[in-house]
Amino acid sequence: MQKSLHINPDNCTGCYQCVLACSDEHGGDFNPMKSRIQVFRFEDEGRYVPYTCTQCDEAWCQKSCPTDAIKIDANGAKVIEDALCVGCKVCTIACPFGTVNYNADSGKVIKCDLCGGDPACVKACPTDAITFINADTTGFDKMRAWAAKTDAGTQSA
């Protein structure tokens, strides 16, 4: 079963626990700017939105890479192979979502790699705003809620 990160901003409080977990997992320190997941705070609306790579099947980043440094691992994650990455940043331009970024400390690009199948951000999130679930059914929770709303006989919505 392929799993994917599923983000529900309705649950997010903007606490950055995901950001800190990601930075710790990949860099061994707590450094929000080096996290592969970011939380954007839209203060005027009171909304907090985590955002990271969704692991496109046909990944623009991978197609654009001139050195074939972006590989697909067993979880379907697009993973940077540091030995091949030359820091050209073409993938950061190719990605439509901005989720591949350059790290000046290493001279390589960084992006979400799903932590080898057990994402640290998911474990750290206190409100289930980020979950790692069956990629084929990510919409089912929303469908269930709307199904209940549209059914006059359902009271438990």
Partner: protein, 616 residues
């Protein structure tokens, strides 16, 4: 590890920014933030100094856990001699500023002297510089924060700033960071203004490391689990914020109302956390938009609110239609119950204004309440108030006066003095509901005996956050004590004060202590920081800090005579509710407290006590 190991010394007179190694001996004896900052202040200033003189210093300090993923570990404190109180001041704030300072590689900043012209400090990791702030002087905290982000072209800059109130000497100006988080009490923003320092803007990208990553991860996960499973930190605070208390405290007969003339408020529900969830008539939306978290906080007690767009305060002012920091319990009480105003939108508006311009809503609301009592009693009149009717429950008086106070105009100039100076000016010092010049927060010392003692003995003037006995006396944490009983409260207050001083020095939020004891903090400290950290050591440091703060105050000229409560709490019995007929039994508790502390009958730490904590 955990500590960055260096501090930034900013001499505003000379315009210099110099890096210094952190005194690690002191770090191991005072931890960080409140404890370590106070130690530096003790060593570097004369406690008799005028708070607004260049000889006073102002320290912004993080704790060793600040910037890590320990729950709530984004705190910083501002330590100085307070303008409101003339006592040690230490105001703690959340948001994201504390982490940014730590991530830039600094444990603390010491500001000394006075700049010849308005400046702001801009830090990008190792690089620190003072920059001309004439474009920002006269601007609000909100405009300053947005303006600095725009000027530097970086939305991730974190800013702490003062408003016009801090520039012009309102006695209880705050320092506002991240738009609505505040180092709020005792006039720390007034001190900042006296130094011609408008703002501190930060960008930190260096990372924060701990001693033992694996042990730290285990300890942090355990701490987070305790918070999630606790009914207060896991349910009550996320759902209602601190406003979960409004109805609870009212029912306990300890909600100070009408400048402490009453202990219960008819309008309590209208301004409660529950009311913030109720849909309003105009648009069917509730006051509360969402609950939000400070950096790394898994509790998320912060309220994010909107004002009803048809409300008189904002119907012609669309700039206040956006969501912003909503009412916390203390502000809802001071702006509401203290003044008798039960209009939730008026209170929310007043709260926005306090955040926008940087004044402490607790002291503001309490000062307005004292002014209202003087107005109702005919001590002051329309000529003095500029025609504004300061009658109990008058929402328009509240919303007019909050803007006048923030902008230092009209009768707001006098409200900006705080209740002590204001009531003294009109010959009625007894109407100021304050200790050491700082106004009470939202709990009455007659209906909750322990908190009365905590107020009287708090080193920074009346404060609930120096020993939050409400946890025990009302909520039963860690065990229930009878709020109406004064027996045993001396020991309870001391225990809360000492533990709190340790938590305030570590970099985490005091609200964790609804669920955590020091035993929950210890493994996180021990995994993060060099050396061996035990609960005994943390609590010993907490007690050392308390005694050190006491030494500062005694050297600043305060005495046991300042450890008291207004006559109203000592003589006038509560009129209604469970505490009906009760006064504060401070006279009985205070000697017990001095004894428990190892202080003389005059409230002075004995030589033996000082020796025990290495404070001789």
């Amino acid at each position: 590890m955990a500590w960055a190991g260096k501090l930034l010394r900013v001499n505003l007179t000379e315009g210099t920014c110099v890096s210094e190694p952190l005194n690690m001996d002191w770090a191991h004896t005072y931890i960080g933030q409140r404890g370590l900052g106070t130690k530096y202040l003790m060593e570097e200033i004369d406690p008799m100094v005028d708070p607004l003189s260049p000889e006073n210093k102002m320290i912004m300090a993080t704790g060793p856990l600040t910037g890590t993923n320990a729950s709530t570990a984004g705190r910083y404190s501002v330590i100085t001699k307070g303008e409101l109180t003339g006592a040690i001041a230490c105001s703690n704030s959340g948001g994201f500023f504390g982490n940014e300072l730590k991530n830039a590689g600094w444990d603390m900043i010491i500001f000394e002297g006075k700049s010849p012209k308005p400046v702001y400090l801009f830090i990008q990791d190792d690089d620190a510089q003072l920059i001309d702030a004439s474009d920002f002087w006269g601007k609000s905290c909100w405009d300053t924060e947005e303006g600095l982000k725009a000027k530097h072209g970086d939305e991730f800059i974190r800013v702490a700033s003062i408003g016009v109130s801090g520039e012009k000497g309102v006695k209880y100006a705050c320092i506002i960071n991240d738009m609505d988080r505040a180092a709020g009490r005792s006039g720390v923003g007034t001190v900042m203004g006296s130094k011609n320092l408008k703002a501190v803007a930060l960008r930190g990208t260096l990372g924060v490391k701990v001693k033992d990553r694996e042990a730290f991860a285990t300890a942090v996960a355990a701490g987070k689990a305790v918070l999630a499973e606790n009914p207060v930190t896991g349910q009550g605070l996320p759902t209602y914020g601190t406003q979960v208390l409004m109805n609870v405290i009212n029912e306990s007969g300890a909600l100070p109302t009408h400048n402490h003339q009453d202990v219960q408020f008819d309008g309590a529900h209208d301004i409660s956390g529950e009311a913030m969830h109720e849909p309003r008539k105009s648009d069917g939306k509730p006051n509360l938009v969402s609950n939000a978290a400070c950096f790394a906080c898994t509790i998320a007690c912060q309220r994010v609110s909107t004002i009803d767009r048809t409300h008189y305060t904002v119907k012609d002012r669309p700039e206040y239609h956006k969501a912003s920091g909503g009412l916390e319990y203390e502000a809802a009480w001071s702006l509401g119950a203290a003044t008798g105003v039960n209009d939730l939108d008026a209170l929310t508006f007043a709260n926005f204004i306090c955040n926008e311009h940087g004044i402490d809503p607790i002291t503001f609301g309490a000062t307005l309440a004292a002014a209202m009592e003087m107005y109702e009693e005919g001590i002051i009149d329309d000529k003095i108030t500029g025609g504004v009717k300061l009658t109990w429950g008058n929402a328009e008086a509240l919303t007019t006066m909050v803007e006048q106070t923030c902008l230092v105009e009209g009768f707001g100039v006098e409200l900006g003095l705080g209740s002590k100076r204001l009531c003294e000016k009109y010959g009625h010092p007894e109407l100021s509901m304050a200790v050491k010049g700082q106004e009470f927060p939202a709990y009455d010392g007659r209906g909750i005996q322990g908190i009365g003692l905590a107020y009287a003995t708090s080193n920074r003037g009346a404060c609930h956050l120096r020993g939050y006995t409400i946890a025990s006396e009302i909520l039963g944490i860690p065990e229930k004590t009878d709020p109406l009983e004064s027996d045993g409260k001396a020991g309870l207050v001391k225990a809360f004060q000492d533990a709190t001083a340790a938590f305030d020095s570590a970099g985490v939020c005091i609200f964790t202590t609804f669920a955590w004891t020091a035993d929950d903090l210890t493994p996180q400290m021990d995994a993060a920081c060099e050396g061996e950290w035990t609960t005994e050591r943390l609590l010993e440091i907490g007690e050392r800090i308390w005694n050190m703060e006491r030494q500062f105050n005694l050297a600043a000229g305060l005495t046991a005579a300042d450890d008291t409560l207004p006559k109203r709490l000592l003589k006038d019995a509560a009129k209604t509710g469970p505490a009906k007929g009760k006064v504060s039994e401070l006279g009985k508790m205070l000697p017990e407290y001095y004894e428990a502390r190892g202080w003389s009958a005059e409230g002075v730490p004995t030589a033996e006590t000082l020796e025990r904590f290495g404070l001789s």
